[in-house]
């Protein structure tokens, strides 16, 4: 039984890391109805800048602050150069634009900071913790990740309830209508992309500390996709819950079902789970169900 719990907890903790990436997607999706393909690239981009600054000898807190600045600038640039010209366009067109942004960030980050794996150590303890007389082992790093995700979730949920949050929901629903009640689209977009950038920075730092900062992190964005399908594209708590389910599910499946089919389940289990969800509950666990009149 202790073994089961160890696997479960390990899975949940891995799931938290997926959630961190998924949160960024949800934010932008909620505020513009666009699946931001560039979120994964933003995680790498933010991480690279942060590591880059620290390697130049800048103190950690200042590097963090500088990177926040970079992400806000990026949000302004994306709005100015890309989104502004695509107001009132179909979602698919905005989606294509984010693919472009993704390629750009991926390349630009690596042009500046190089593409080799960089160590990132911001002093998060990594020693194992034993529970229940040493029967269950937890990485203390994972606990920190959970704490960070929890804080992020709480602040984002509060944010949703504010007037700005209402404006964001309005923009997501209908650009024209939002403009006509006096919501400045461009300001909203800058706010959203800046916040998504900050979330990407948090995710980048956490993933970077765990795996080292490397271009492969971009492909982690793909793991966020099943998380979003499970949790619902429009729900912030959904991104967290979805991440936990995916993380725990794939670890448990690997350990308990894996041996029966020769292993290697972990890599595709999340997608199968997402596929099943699409059949049963396409809006995800917490997503908004839109009723189309025909």
């Amino acid at each position: 039984m202790a073994f089961f719990f160890e696997v479960l907890i390990g899975g949940l903790m891995a799931g938290v890391m997926y959630s961190l990436v998924a949160l960024g997607f949800v934010l932008i999706f909620k505020a513009s109805g666009v699946f931001n393909f560039a979120q994964g690239a933003m995680v790498l981009f933010a991480g690279l800048f942060f590591v880059g600054f620290t390697e130049l000898g800048v103190p950690t807190w200042l590097s963090l602050l500088l990177t926040v600045g970079v992400m806000v600038l990026l949000a302004v640039a994306v709005e100015r150069l890309v989104l502004r010209h695509l107001v009132n366009q179909e979602g698919i067109i905005l989606f294509m634009a984010t693919i472009g942004v993704s390629f750009f960030l991926d390349g630009f980050g690596q042009t500046i900071w190089g593409s080799n794996v960089k160590q990132l150590d911001i002093g998060i303890p990594t020693d194992p913790i034993f529970l229940m007389d040493g029967e269950i082992l937890i990485q203390s790093f994972d606990l920190w990740a959970a704490l960070v995700a929890g804080t992020l979730l709480a602040s984002l949920v509060v944010f949703q309830k504010t007037r700005t949050g209402r404006a964001l929901r309005a923009v997501a629903d209908d650009h024209q209508a939002a403009q006509s009640v006096g919501i400045p689209l461009n300001v909203i977009w800058i706010i959203v992309w800046a916040i998504a950038g900050l979330v990407a920075l948090v995710a980048g730092v956490m993933w970077g500390s765990k795996l080292g900062m490397q271009p492969a992190i971009v492909s982690l964005a793909l793991k966020a996709l099943p998380v979003l399908i499970l949790g619902g594209f429009t729900s912030i708590p959904g991104a967290i819950i979805g991440g936990l389910i995916i993380g725990a599910g794939e670890k448990l499946a690997e350990v308990y079902i894996g041996p029966l089919v020769g292993g290697g389940i972990e890599n595709w289990f999340a997608y199968v789970l997402a596929l099943a969800f699409l059949l049963i509950r396409p809006q995800g666990l917490f997503g908004e169900k839109l009723i189309e009149r025909v």
């Binding site: 007037r163 209402r166 309005a170 209908d174 024209q176 006509s180 009640v181 909203i188």
Partner: protein
């Protein structure tokens, strides 16, 4: 049926020599007219005459290549929709633009966004005073809900409402902004007779009780002739008529535009 004693004021908005084209397609050519305070002005014309384009110019969705729009004595260059909203221009849309995931009340509350004092940035960080403010605005919205008789659907997500009620919610959201100038793009399209009568009554009441200036586009001639003080007629992006309903009704150019000319 505009009562003759109705107190129509000065010029609120003046459109001068507006021309708008999309690539090679001319949507509007050299249009001039004015909207006076507290009047109900109808813009009519066959399909594709440029009526909606005209409204879109007024509230800043489109930027005409030529001509000027003077609003409250101030000539404006390019104005964006949210700036127009700030200056008291509210509108509804031909193809209903509501926030479908939100309830009726939440939709109407978005109309109050500009009336809320706490800024977008500050309210994102600190929501204490913003909450107190919300309560005041809620009261105002409730009054509009009573006025438009939509109490029963307060909490219903608008995506679920029938078409006629959605149009009414859209009007409610526009009214929540306490506009000086209200632009209505086909407020009665797709409605049955009873719903049309209700909508007419609301439009007249808004105009009468709040003194709101209204500029509307409508196809139902019976309605137009009944409720408007003045009518502007567009055809192929040009103005072919402007006057009180009776004048317009008997104008040869207008009759030709609607019925076609014999060659």
């Amino acid at each position: 049926m505009s009562a003759p004693e109705k107190n129509i004021g000065d010029i609120l908005l003046k459109v001068e020599n507006i021309s708008l084209s999309f690539g090679g397609v001319k949507a509007l050519t050299d249009i001039s007219f004015e909207i006076r305070e507290r009047e109900i002005l109808a813009i009519i014309g066959p399909n594709g005459a440029g009526k909606s384009s005209m409204l879109n110019c007024i509230n800043g969705f489109y930027h005409p290549q030529q001509g000027t729009i003077t609003y409250r004595g101030e000539k404006r260059k390019q104005m964006r929709p949210h700036e127009a909203a700030k200056q008291g221009i509210a509108r509804t849309f031909q193809n209903i633009a509501l926030f479908k995931g939100m309830s009726t009340l939440d939709n109407i509350m978005t109309g109050r966004l500009l009336k809320m004092k706490s800024g977008l940035f500050t309210s994102a960080i600190y929501k204490g005073p913003a909450e107190r403010e919300q309560i005041e605005h809620r009261e105002f919205c409730e009054r509009i809900i009573d006025f438009l008789e939509i109490e029963a659907i307060r909490k219903v997500p608008v995506g679920r409402l029938p078409y006629g009620l959605q149009k009414r919610v859209e009007l409610a959201r526009a009214l929540a902004a306490e506009p000086t100038l209200l632009l209505l793009d086909e407020p009665m399209a797709g409605m049955n007779l009873e719903e049309k009568q209700d909508m007419c009554r609301f439009i007249l009441d808004v105009n009468d009780e709040f003194g709101t200036t209204i500029c509307l586009i409508e196809h139902d001639m019976g309605v137009v002739m009944d409720i408007s003080d003045r009518v502007v007629v567009l055809d192929y992006g040009r103005k072919i008529g402007d006057g009180i309903p009776d004048e317009v009704k008997s104008s040869q150019a207008v009759i030709d535009a609607y019925l076609g000319v014999q060659h």
